[in-house]
């Protein structure tokens, strides 16, 4: 590969000289390169399609679409801010709940649980990630929402009620429920991936801490979590990705009202939610185009999240892995 870098980059095989295995190698390289490229092409195609189909709404509303708070199909006025707010806020609530719990689960599964229990417990956690989201939604609607209405919301109001987030009518259905159901759905993902990453931490790191007289907790904190930090961050990003795009379960518990309220008790609406529940009734061109533009925004937001995450990961890597790698 170092001898003929151009061979696999541009597919210029030198037939006379190349031995059989070399030809096979470069065929393989070119083939895989084509597969990799096709993913990029597909992403670009999706982007282009979304972009061209949202032209109508882009021309009509311009940047106001991003800041507009009104969503009125009757008067043909469309603003996306309530949906952006709903998606971002519910995802943040989900992360705030899910990250500490998931790290706790991962730590227990990789460091603390009795050896015999580790595999079966991890398997069960991974199984939870495979439950279809509509099932989470049903459970959320019939079990979680009443509990939130009768227990969690009164509790939050009485303890943190001085904050604007925890004031207002207690319906159960609303932003808080959306955030909690998302948290429950991303906990398996974040804990399973974090656990894998923590298992990958070499034992020599743990031993280094133990040999200095560190306790188990100090060892986990310094040797394991620190070493695995980059990967754990990646796990969290995976969870966030799932939360941002999750549609069905959230539709069932968040209330689907396009509004921006500081109160987490109030109903809200997400970007994926509005697309899924309204595209059938969107018969006018502008209405449909606006929905597609929301899809475009969701695409861009998730893409940006990923880029930011990668940049952070890259920075952490550079800091810890040293200059050599």
């Amino acid at each position: 590969m170092s001898m003929f870098p151009h061979t696999f980059l541009f597919g210029k095989i030198k037939p006379k000289r190349a031995r059989k295995s070399l030809i096979g190698d470069s065929v393989f390289k070119n083939l895989t390169a084509i597969f990799a490229l096709s993913v990029l092409v597909l992403a670009l195609a999706i982007f282009y399609e979304l972009y061209s189909r949202s032209q109508l709404s882009i021309n009509e509303f311009g940047l106001d679409f991003l800041t507009g708070v009104e969503w009125d199909p009757v008067d043909q006025i469309f603003g996306a801010l309530p949906f952006i707010y709903g998606t971002v806020t519910s995802s943040i609530i989900a992360l705030i709940i899910a990250v500490p719990i998931s790290l706790g689960i991962a730590t227990y599964l990789s460091e603390l649980a009795p050896k015999r229990l580790r595999s079966p417990l991890s398997f069960m956690v991974e199984l939870l990630a495979a439950v279809p989201s509509v099932v989470y939604g049903l459970w959320g609607l019939f079990v979680m929402v009443p509990w939130i209405r009768d227990v969690l919301q009164p509790f939050l109001e009485s303890t943190l009620g001085f904050l604007p987030f925890f004031q207002g009518p207690k319906f159960g259905i609303g932003m808080l429920s959306g955030g909690v159901i998302l948290a429950i759905m991303i906990i398996p993902t974040i804990s399973a991936v974090s656990r894998e990453v923590m298992l990958a931490v070499p034992d020599t790191q743990r031993e280094a801490a133990f040999a200095l007289g560190a306790t188990r907790w100090e060892t986990i904190k310094t040797a394991v979590l620190r070493y695995a930090a980059t990967g754990i961050f990646g796990a969290i990003m995976l969870g966030l990705g799932r939360a941002l795009g999750e549609t069905m379960a959230v539709i069932m518990v968040i209330g689907n009202r396009p509004q921006i309220s500081l109160s987490f008790f109030e109903p809200a609406y997400t970007m994926s939610g509005v697309i899924a529940s309204e595209y059938i009734e969107a018969t006018q061109d502008l209405y449909l185009s606006s929905l597609i533009e929301i899809g475009l925004l969701l695409f861009i937001v998730t893409l940006m999240m990923n880029i930011i995450a990668r940049l952070l990961v890259w920075r952490t890597m550079r800091k810890f892995r040293g200059a050599k790698e």
Binding site: R206, E207, L212, G213, R321
Partner: protein, 275 residues
């Protein structure tokens, strides 16, 4: 002074008065009837010997004979392995470290360890050395800085890293990383330092530096070093123990072991005629 090695099968109780009177060298560690098993498999069998204070003891023997298991028994690192079971006594200054009420965290502070492969934390050079000091609440603020500097100087690393204390420890070379690990162990002011083949991952130049350092540490600390390398044992150690299949075959001053081994197995091993 009487050569302690010549008295190695005397009872510790009988020796203590002699130690106190300064007639024989002081023993830092006494191993009595030490047996270690992994699951059903016995790895160390009835070890009995003493490790001299402020001296360097080399543990030699063919691969798999239990050298690592032995030194990990001295700071109870074997406790971390579920299948491991230990019987017998290891007396540190006369107190059994396997006795009731022994604080293992305190023990590991007194008996430091340096591993085969350098294993710095993915933190800054400074934080690596400060780790133990922080864990044991030994210093903070200006004192912490001074202690870190002192440990790095003692490990002959200070001049190489003083301008880059906040850089990642992983940017150091292998030899520097190993000396950093030594500094990290020294920072908590141990009395005993265990080395498990500390140079096996290093090139000859780095090895020479680490060996020099270990020899110097032998003046103020009790050092136990596992090594495969006979020349290394001969170069650095005062005393040598030869283990074979989990048993202590021979123990004595390094000079005697290398010039005049009493046991045929030892002789075979040091002359390289070993199966």
């Amino acid at each position: 002074m009487i050569d302690r090695a010549s008295l190695y099968d005397m009872k510790i109780e009988d020796l203590q008065p002699l130690e106190e009177a300064g007639v024989v060298e002081k023993e830092k560690i006494r191993i009595r009837g030490l047996n270690v098993w992994f699951s059903k498999k016995q790895v160390l069998q009835d070890l009995n010997f003493g490790i001299m204070n402020n001296s360097i003891t080399a543990i030699m023997g063919p691969s798999g004979c239990g050298k690592t298991t032995f030194i990990r028994a001295l700071n109870r690192m074997n406790d971390l392995i579920d299948t491991c079971r230990t019987k017998g006594e290891v007396l540190l200054d006369g107190v059994n470290i396997y006795g009731n009420g022994v604080d293992v965290f305190e023990l590991r502070k007194r008996v430091g360890m340096v591993f085969q492969k350098p294993n710095p934390f993915p933190k800054s050079i400074f934080e690596n050395v400060a780790f133990g000091l922080r864990v044991h609440n030994m210093a903070n603020g200006q004192r912490l800085k001074e202690e870190v500097e002192q440990a790095l100087r003692e490990a002959v690393l200070w001049d190489e890293v003083k301008d880059r204390l906040n850089e990642s420890a992983l940017r150091l070379s292998g030899g520097q990383q190993q000396r950093l690990c030594i500094a990290r162990a020294l920072a908590v002011k141990p009395e005993v330092i265990l080395f498990d083949e500390p140079c096996s991952a290093l090139d000859p130049t780095a090895t020479a530096k680490v060996e020099d350092l270990i020899r110097r540490l032998g003046e103020n600390y009790t050092v136990v070093i596992v090594t495969h390398n006979m020349q290394q044992a001969a170069r650095v150690s005062d005393m040598t123990a030869f283990l074979y299949l989990g048993k202590l075959v021979e123990y004595g001053s390094t000079r005697d072991i290398f010039t005049n081994p009493r046991n045929e197995l030892t002789e075979k091993y040091i002359t390289g005629r070993f199966g």
